[in-house]
Every structure is written in structure tokens, then in C-alpha cells.
Amino acid sequence: MRPKKAKKVVFKSAAEMPLLICSVGHQTHNLTGAWRNIRPEVDRSKCIQCGICWKFCPEPAIEIVDEWPVVDYDYCKGCGICAEECPSKCIVMVEERK
């Protein structure tokens, strides 16, 4: 996985800008988890390790760690696709409380 909190890149002058149109750093400083009002929770006792939640997450905020799906709550926007698509219904969406 990429580093979570990327350093902000600042150009001091035009000469430091890259010649080609390309990014100088990823967007991962933008922690989109703050958008979420419901969160997915995975019940491993029911999980069949099929990877379907990982496949359909649009962020993608599900990582495969030791053959299990793990939600990265720094980025998960709470869309609910993983819970909807999980064939064994082991992901439930629960309300966020602050």
C-alpha cells in the first residue's frame, strides 16, 4: 500500500515544475473517510474470503491482508457496495457516531 499521509509538495519556482503533465504526488492526503455516515463491518466468522468486496470497492478502500478483507476507514466513503455485493452477507453497515 502507498504511504497514507503524503507530504504536501510545494514548488518554489516554475523551474521545479515537471516538464511532462504528470502528478507529483498522490491524493492520499485527502482522507475521504470523513464523508462517511455509515461504516462497513466485516464478520470474519461468516466471511468466505471470496474477494468480491475488494473487487467492487470504488475507492478502493478494501485491502487484502493475510487473505482477509480489511477496510481502510481513512478512505472508505460508506457507499455500502461491499455489504450489498457480499455473497455471504458478512458485511453490515452500521451508523457512525462521532
Binding site: R2, A6, V9, F11, M17, L20, I21, C22, S23, V24, G25, H26, Q27, T28, H29, N30, L31, T32, W35, R44, S45, C47, Q49, C50, G51, W54, K55, F56, P58, E59, P60, A61, I64, D66, E67, W68, D72, D74, Y75, K77, G78, C79, G80, I81, A83, E84, E85, M93
Partner: protein, 301 residues
């Protein structure tokens, strides 16, 4: 949490594990267009350059100098995706780079409407580019205005319920087939394996390759974000958006044969943009879908 729950098996991933798209992007919850990009880059890999005109994706990626993608992106004017990609490809070839896959990535407005002239020109010249239209069936980025990809019956802000769209969706695949380009495919975010397979196939072909990708948009369709994959799957299974490919403009092949074709009713009912439709109007949609499917079956022989 751990191993004691159950013996871990090895996960079998059905699409490539590489992740050239990163978190932190700006798409709405449940955005289909975002998944389309994720799958395309998994198929094409990092040796890819994108040309993206004005559309949701011009925003999703994030503000310069940051990006959510591991590939260079050339942001271009709304009507110029195909001509920009043509230029980028020519430029790369001039400096001796023959490997990079150049992709024009545009929305339905940028493809069916304003970008059609540039696209037609590039296709007629058979430029060596992949053109991908992710179709969310309206101008979403600017607030859900009708495009020529908006289907019959749909509400948009410019086709309000009282004056919903009464014209059918433009048949972009037939238009592209008429250009006799080497490869055309439709794809859906509900079928990533099929999408990745066809994108890999396209990568190995020279000339203009066109993809029409179905990308549900909860914001514009007034659907639940968790339904995005379900809606895309329903559209494939009821032949609203069949999966097929066309080689050299005439060899049609259906990728997913439909043994029992589902009715369109359930699909329409899940979306707020179709809420006003009466049973008679839904029957009209069904008749149109059936006619298109029959035509496709004939073409695929």
C-alpha cells in the same frame, strides 16, 4: 480477530491485484465511473497515458499537482479527447516511444455529443488510440443535464418530469462500427473480468479501439449508492446494456449470452430518474429494448 476463527484459504482474485488507482479521490459514494477507471488501469498497466476532457473524471482525479492515478493525465478541452490522444500518440512516437498505450477517456457528453466530430476524425484515420466512453447517461459534472446518451423516459434537470426525454438513446456503437475500426466493445462495471479481458485484448490491437462502458451514477440517477453494481448487472441481464464486441465494424460477437432475459421493470423502478414512468411507458421501454436485442442477435448471427 484472527486465524482461530477459520483456517485461512488463499484468496483467488479474479482481476489483477495491481492498484494503479489510489484512495483519496473525489468521486461521489458508489460512483461507477471510478470503478471503470480502476478496472481499465488494472488491465492496461502503468505504461499508459490518459487524455481526459471536461467530465466528472477531470474532477475525481483531484486538483493539480496531485492525482489519484499512477499514470500521466493530459486534461484537455471538452470536445478534444480523440484529437488530443491522437497528438499525444504522435508526439510519443516522435521521441521513439512506441509502447505507451494512449487512452482518450471521456464521458457520454464528451463522446456522443460534443466530442463526436474529433472521435469520428480519429476513427476514420484509424489513429492508434483506445477511446473509452464511460456512460453515466447525462452531463453529470455540470449538474445532470440531458445528453444524447440519456435514455428514453429519464428525468434530468433539462428534461424535467413533465417533459421527460422522449427520444431514444443514440446508438454510438453502430456509429463507431460504421467507421470500420478494428475493435469495439461494450463493458459494464458489474462484469470486471469481462472488462479486463477485453481491455487486454484491445491493448494488443493496432488502430482505433472504442469502448462503451456502462457506469451507474447514484447522484444523477437518483439511485442508492449501494445499488450501483446491482443496477449495472441488471442492465446487462435484461439487455438494456448487452455485453458484446465488434471487430472490423462487422463481426459482432455477444460476450454474455442471455438464457432468460429479465424484464426491465425492476431495473427502472430502482432509479428515481424513472419514478414518474407509467406502466404503458415502461412497456414502451421494454419494446425498445427487445427490438434492440433482436437486432443484436441477428448481427451476431
Amino acid at each position: 480477530m484472527s486465524t482461530e476463527i477459520k483456517k485461512q484459504k488463499k484468496m483467488t482474485l479474479t482481476i489483477p491485484a495491481d492498484e494503479p488507482m489510489a484512495c483519496g479521490h473525489l468521486a461521489c459514494q458508489g460512483c461507477g465511473a471510478t470503478l471503470a477507471m480502476r478496472y481499465m488501469l488494472k488491465a492496461l498497466g502503468q505504461r499508459t497515458a490518459l487524455c481526459i476532457p471536461a467530465c466528472c473524471w477531470a474532477v475525481i482525479d483531484g486538483p493539480y499537482p496531485y492525482s489519484s492515478l499512477d499514470v500521466p493525465i493530459y486534461h484537455c478541452a471538452f470536445e478534444t479527447a480523440a484529437s488530443t490522444a491522437t497528438g499525444v500518440k504522435a508526439g510519443l512516437e516522435m521521441v521513439g516511444d512506441k509502447e505507451t498505450t494512449v487512452v482518450a477517456w471521456a464521458g457520454d457528453g464528451g463522446t456522443f455529443d460534443i466530442g463526436l466530430q474529433a472521435l469520428s476524425g480519429a476513427a476514420e484515420r484509424n489513429e492508434d488510440i483506445i477511446y473509452v466512453c464511460y456512460d453515466n447517461e447525462a452531463y453529470m459534472n455540470t449538474g445532470i443535464q440531458r445528453s444524447s446518451a440519456t435514455p428514453y423516459g429519464a428525468w434530468t434537470t433539462t428534461t424535467p418530469v413533465k417533459h421527460f426525454k422522449t427520444r431514444p438513446k443514440k446508438d454510438i456503437v453502430s456509429i463507431m462500427a460504421a467507421h470500420r475500426i478494428p475493435y469495439i466493445a461494450t463493458a459494464s462495471v458489474s462484469h470486471p473480468e469481462d472488462f479486463v479481458k477485453k481491455m487486454k485484448k484491445a491493448k494488443g490491437i493496432k488502430g482505433t479501439r472504442f469502448f462503451h462502458v456502462y457506469a451507474p451514477c447514484p447522484t444523477g440517477w437518483k439511485s442508492r449508492p449501494e445499488d450501483s453494481i446491482k443496477l449495472a448487472r441488471m442492465a446487462v441481464q435484461n439487455a438494456y446494456f448487452p455485453l458484446f464486441e465488434v471487430e472490423d465494424g462487422e463481426n459482432y460477437a455477444i460476450n454474455l449470452k442471455l438464457k432468460d432475459k429479465k424484464p426491465v421493470d425492476d431495473y427502472l423502478r430502482l432509479q428515481g430518474r424513472f419514478r414518474h414512468l407509467t406502466d404503458v411507458q415502461i412497456a414502451a421501454v421494454q419494446a425498445e429494448v427487445d427490438a434492440r436485442w433482436e437486432r443484436l442477435l441477428k448481427l451476431a448471427g
